[in-house]
């Protein structure tokens, strides 16, 4: 059986890359949503 280590390492690396990058993206999305809500509350307060 040939040495397939590069494929195995690449598979695990891609998996973790996907998990970490998407996890960080979720955090950014969350922070953005909270900022939008805070701005909306301010605007609504101003309007009222």
């Amino acid at each position: 059986v040939p040495d397939n280590s590069p494929y195995i390492v690449a598979a695990y690396a891609i998996t973790w890359l996907a998990v970490i990058v998407y996890g960080l993206r979720l955090r950014r999305t969350r922070a953005e949503a909270e900022r939008r809500l805070a701005n909306a509350r301010q605007s609504a307060g101003g309007a009222a």
Binding site: I8, G23, A33, R36, S43
Partner: protein, 243 residues
């Protein structure tokens, strides 16, 4: 008055923020342990040697993508039935995570296919149906990004989501229904016993990450939706006071 209504709606989402995040982190920690367990304890396969270890990332990604699309189907049906915005947001969250996992499944499959079959890609029924599934959910996400009317976006998304989810049984059964280069489904019935528990452990870890990701994405959408509703109400109130 509008502010307090939104606060009541959003408060649970804000409270549960850290819970969803911690679920994903717990899943990631479990995934490290499950991968170590699989890589260190399972013997090399008779034909593929250590290349078999790719199964512990490829198969859990595929199984959990199927679970995500099941959530899309249920939430889409509920939306079409009851018209609740939250079901639409849940379907969208699950579709996004499902698309990520399907893309990962395809990439990992190619990394397994090249050394095992000698090619990165072949138009075999399993690979092709998985690619169709992936592109259907990419189309779903693109549709959501481009349709501005929320009601129309939710209705169209629900229909595309249901059609996409209908493809899941076809993907799963493709290795039985057609002659494929891809092996039959990995399950305790088709696997050596020494691979079964590491595979289950990895699948459970990815499932916990899946739950954390979907919950996190869903709650972000609920908060963004509440912000939009609040702005709409404020604009309406301003318009009335001017009139």
């Amino acid at each position: 008055m509008g502010v307090s209504t939104v606060d009541v709606t959003v408060a649970p989402a804000l409270r549960e923020e850290s819970r969803a995040g911690w679920v994903a982190v717990a899943g990631a920690v479990l995934l490290v342990a499950a991968q170590a367990y699989g890589v260190l304890t399972s013997p090399p396969d008779r034909d593929m040697g250590h290349l078999q270890k790719i199964m512990y990332v490829h198969v859990p990604a595929a199984w959990n993508a199927f679970i995500a699309f099941f959530v899309v189907a249920i939430a889409s049906l509920r939306y079409l039935w009851k018209g609740r915005t939250r079901d639409d947001l849940l379907a969208a969250a699950a579709a996004e995570v499902g698309a990520l996992l399907t893309g990962l499944t395809l990439a990992l499959g190619m990394l397994w296919g090249k050394p095992a079959w000698g090619v990165w890609w072949t138009w075999d029924a399993r690979l092709t149906s998985t690619a169709v599934l992936f592109f259907m959910f990419l189309a779903y996400l693109i549709l959501r990004a481009f349709v501005e009317d929320p009601e129309r976006r939710a209705q169209w998304s629900a229909v595309v989501g249901l059609l996409g989810a209908l493809n899941v049984p076809i993907v799963y059964m493709s290795v039985r229904w057609w002659r494929t280069l891809h092996q039959v489904q990995s399950s305790p019935a088709t696997l050596d016993a020494s691979y079964t528990w590491p595979l289950r452990a990895n699948a459970i870890a990815v499932m916990i990450i899946l739950i954390g990701f979907i919950a996190h994405r869903y709650r972000s959408s609920v908060i963004a939706q509440a912000a939009d509703d609040l702005l709409d109400r404020a604009a309406l109130a301003e318009g009335r006071s001017r009139a």
